[in-house]
């Protein structure tokens, strides 16, 4: 087990000139020993590159990787003592389930009794004890991926276990089960787990800390609550949540916030620099208020969707779309109506150049 410190950048082509040449822009990050982390981002954002750099399958073009203050930048996965689980199940066709699980231990010359004990434990955790003597090749994709997971977890002394979207091929209901299983295994084994995914639900339920990535940049590292309440980058606001955060261009002058010609007072205790900013607010925090109430913003309703537990209101203001999550007993609204919404409150965030300022 180890604390992983990254201070690196990576480009697949030689002599990168501009930002777009980099698969990973310069970043500095620390993964604490025993933590459960997720790397979250859309396809092509560099999360798998980052994972492969940590596991040692890839050498970063600049910078270093340190495990517990030991420089391992050029070490092989074996030397780093890393375990990794891939997107598609990787199993050894000619071996039985038990032999598959024992393979990483056998290669490290672990004693027979210890292998048997450890394989038994892992099989128990993954509920595969009954299939130990079956040939791995004949099993379903789900079961094969469980074997891959098991091979990742079977060594108790690993520095970290890395998962590269391991549940892509798994059935939805099993996915949920396996995710819980992983969480439980994390508590029992106290391994450092790093989990790559593009599914925010998966990331937020699995990890204590989530790294959100976009276009080769790690834009925020934080807990699920941090990412939800105070996205440090507009991309995080946009990417996390369903639907994502609302953004409105605003002008700030002397503690007055101008939104589409309406002047709103700043909430008490908040200070903002003057100039062009972007206001961000989650649909969950937008309130329906009476006309004339303080901070009321008049908007035109464009669509109302009944999502069962609540109503999703889409409204327009000065060419911008604003979404609000309203309780389902809210008054009857029709497209074309003018309603008043409050967007200013303690949950409102402000951004300049996509970065949070307040």
């Amino acid at each position: 087990m180890a604390r992983i410190e990254l201070d690196l950048a990576h480009a697949y082509r030689p002599n990168p000139q501009q930002d777009s040449d980099y698969a990973l822009l310069p970043l500095r990050m620390t993964f604490e020993d025993g933590g459960a982390y997720a790397l979250l981002g859309p396809s092509g954002c560099g999360k798998t590159t980052l994972l492969n750099i940590m596991s040692g399958l890839l050498v970063p073009s600049q910078g270093s990787v340190r495990f517990d203050d030991r420089d391992v930048t050029r070490d092989s996965p074996q030397a780093r003592n890393i375990a990794q689980v891939f997107q598609f199940p990787v199993i050894y066709d000619t071996m039985t389930v038990a032999e598959n699980l024992a393979f990483p231990l056998r290669n490290r010359k672990v004693s027979k009794e210890q292998i048997a004990r450890r394989v038994g434990e892992i099989a128990e955790m993954l509920e595969m004890s009954g299939q130990l003597n079956q040939r791995a090749a004949g099993l379903s994709a789900d079961a094969k991926q469980k074997i891959s997971l098991g091979r990742g977890l079977v060594r108790s002394d690993v520095s970290a276990v890395l998962f590269d979207e391991p549940l892509t091929v798994i059935d939805p209901h099993l996915k949920w089960q396996l995710r819980r299983k992983l969480k439980q295994i994390h508590h029992e084994l106290k391994l450092t787990l790093i989990y790559v995914t593009h599914d925010q639900v998966e990331a937020l339920t699995f990890a204590d800390q989530v790294v959100v990535m976009t276009r080769g940049r790690a834009v925020q590292l934080g807990s699920a609550a941090d990412l939800f309440e105070r996205p440090s980058h507009t991309f995080v606001g946009h990417f996390i949540g369903s639907p994502g955060m609302n953004f409105l261009p605003v002008q700030v002058r002397a503690d007055q916030v101008q939104v589409a010609g309406v002047s709103l007072p700043l909430p008490p205790g908040r200070a903002l620099p003057d100039g062009e900013l972007k206001l961000g607010i989650r649909p969950e925090y937008v309130e329906l208020v009476a006309p004339g109430a303080s901070g009321a913003l008049p908007v035109k309703v464009s669509r109302i969707q009944d999502v069962g537990t609540h109503l999703m209101l889409s409204a327009e203001i000065a060419g911008q779309t604003l979404k609000a999550r309203l309780s389902s007993d809210a008054e009857q609204l029709l497209p074309g109506d003018i309603v008043h919404l409050r967007v200013m409150g303690e949950h409102t965030c402000f951004y300049r150049n996509e970065e949070i300022v307040s």
Binding site: Q78, A83, P89, Y92, D93, F103, P104, A137, G138
Partner: protein, 297 residues
């Protein structure tokens, strides 16, 4: 019980008539001619005697045939024993990508493009002790090499010639199999701490199994019917040390004009090949379905 019955129209049988005619002229009738010869002793166009299964009985007891059959089996198994490991080794050492892989692929497949009788001629010259590179070199090393005089030398030369000609096929098939293994398998093996030998044994070989089965089938059947190359190189000699089944048959039918025994043997040869095909095909089918059950790609 259903009250509606399907309309019956037997005229549809006429639709397969063209195929039946084609097959009749291309396969059934020629084969029947052979059957016809195999049960008669044709002394002259006017005089022929029905002999029943006599030719079959005679040919089954023919010592020369037994010799040719054993020689053939030994040869085909030797071909497999040499070409399979060598082809796999070649496939493993071929570069995976880039211009180097294209160049190597072309060079490796060159020998497959040469016509059979040209291959025989090339080796005939190659093995000559006066002007041939191999023959002269062996002579220079003090080996009394002669593919025309020494039975063992002749047999080995034919084997080496076949290996030279056809190992590239096994290598190409193996190469295709290797290229279809996803990178994740190698990465996982490296993370699991597998040695190079482990990777070969537990990842590469099982993943190549499908294409190697095809290689076994092709090489076995092809070598079992080998004719042109040894015919050009050694003419079946010295003695009959390199007379394989095809050549034995040709000698009987064309050389000695023993049409009856030759026809009887043709049928037996045909049945042997049919039987081996059947066994290999079923074996491959079984392996194929196993691979399908196990595969996820």
């Amino acid at each position: 019980m259903s009250t509606t019955t399907k309309p019956v129209n037997q005229k549809a049988w006429f639709l397969i008539l063209p195929v039946l005619l084609c097959v009749a002229f291309s396969a059934i009738m020629p084969l029947m001619t052979v059957v016809n010869y195999s049960v008669q002793d044709i002394i002259s166009p006017e005089r022929r005697v029905f002999v029943g299964t006599e030719w079959f009985a005679a040919i089954m007891r023919d010592e020369e045939l037994h010799g040719a059959l054993w020689r053939q089996l030994t040869f085909s198994l030797s071909v497999l024993a040499v070409e399979l490991p060598l082809g796999i080794l070649l496939a493993l050492s071929m570069p995976a990508q880039g211009w180097k892989s294209s160049v190597v692929l072309v060079i490796v497949s060159l020998s497959l493009l040469i016509p059979w009788n040209v291959v025989g001629t090339i080796w005939q010259i190659f093995g000559r002790t006066d002007i041939g590179l191999m023959g002269a070199a062996l002579q220079g090393l003090g080996i009394e090499y002669s593919y025309t005089g020494n039975a063992l030398h002749a047999w080995l030369t034919v084997l080496v010639m076949d290996v030279w000609h056809w190992t590239p096929l096994v290598a190409l098939l193996g190469y295709a199999g290797l290229r279809s293994i996803p990178d994740a398998y190698y990465q996982a093996a490296s993370i699991d701490g597998a040695s190079k030998l482990d990777v070969f044994w537990y990842v590469q070989l099982p993943k190549m199994r499908g294409v190697l089965m095809i290689a076994v089938l092709l090489r076995f059947m092809d070598s079992f019917m080998i004719y042109t190359e040894p015919f050009v190189l050694t003419g079946g000699g010295p003695g009959n040390s390199t007379t394989f089944l095809s050549q034995f048959l040709t000698q009987k039918a064309v050389g000695q004009f023993d049409l009856g025994p030759a026809a009887a043997f043709s049928l037996i040869y045909f049945l042997i090949i049919l039987l081996l095909c059947f066994i290999l095909y079923n074996w491959m089918q079984r392996v194929g379905t196993q691979a399908k059950e196990g595969g996820h790609e």
